[in-house]
Subunit: 106 residues, 2 copies
DNA sequence: TATATGTGCAACTATTTGGTTTCACAAAGT
DNA sequence: ACTTTGTGAAACCAAATAGTTGCACATATA
């Protein structure tokens, strides 16, 4: 039952949770209020997100606030890096082409 | 059976396939050679990736070359944007703090 | 034409997933 | 002390997932 970040963000509800608590830490009940499914279902999502360290807990009395570990999100960014290189090089190629056409016009 | 990009990249084999064909288009058999699982299993992954338009087919005789649609990968980048703002703003805050400390020293 | 090759699809299976209901337990309020 | 509130964990369930094997079919090659 090992989970990675990519599996964690695969579920739309979990992505919504991440976006929700990105701005401010929230309790499970507060989070669950934003969704159709039960608090327990949300709680399971929180557990999965916690397991892969995308979110962290902050206990305050009997309430637990979950907050996003935005640094962890960078791992997705790092993975994207290899493809960013490709699509950026395509832009450069396009730029070069446009430049050539422009010069040819002269 | 609707799939989105995030679900598509959730599977490690599919991420490996994406990375593999990012550099050059490949046939299913050539791709399958890189993995433990059967050609049919790889073929199913290719189908899923095709369905959400992360890859495209190019027929050449009886061979089909699959190539990455790198533009589609940008959708992940776009989703990340909202979090990038947060982690960049943290850097700015840190910069500001360091600047304050530096000025205080003077 | 007969055979080999490259590929997709259907059927079946074990495992994983996301959800629900029920329970346990600690902290706060009465 | 009793009740309410906030939470996690266990048991169970339907659906989805990733894999396999077997088959069909078109395109090359002998």
């Amino acid at each position: 039952m090992r989970r990675d970040i990519f599996q964690a963000i695969a579920d739309p509800t979990r992505r919504a949770i991440i976006a929700l608590i990105a701005l401010q830490a929230m309790t499970p009940n507060a989070i669950a209020d934003h969704f159709e499914s039960s608090r327990q279902a949300v709680s399971k999502h929180l557990k999965i997100l916690t397991e892969c360290e995308l979110i962290k807990q902050e206990q305050k009395g009997r309430e637990i606030f979950y907050k996003l570990e935005v640094e962890k999100m960078k791992e997705i960014d790092i993975w994207l890096e290899q493809f960013r290189k490709i699509w950026e090089s395509r832009f450069e190629q396009l730029d070069a082409l446009l430049l050539t056409l422009k010069n040819a016009k002269k």
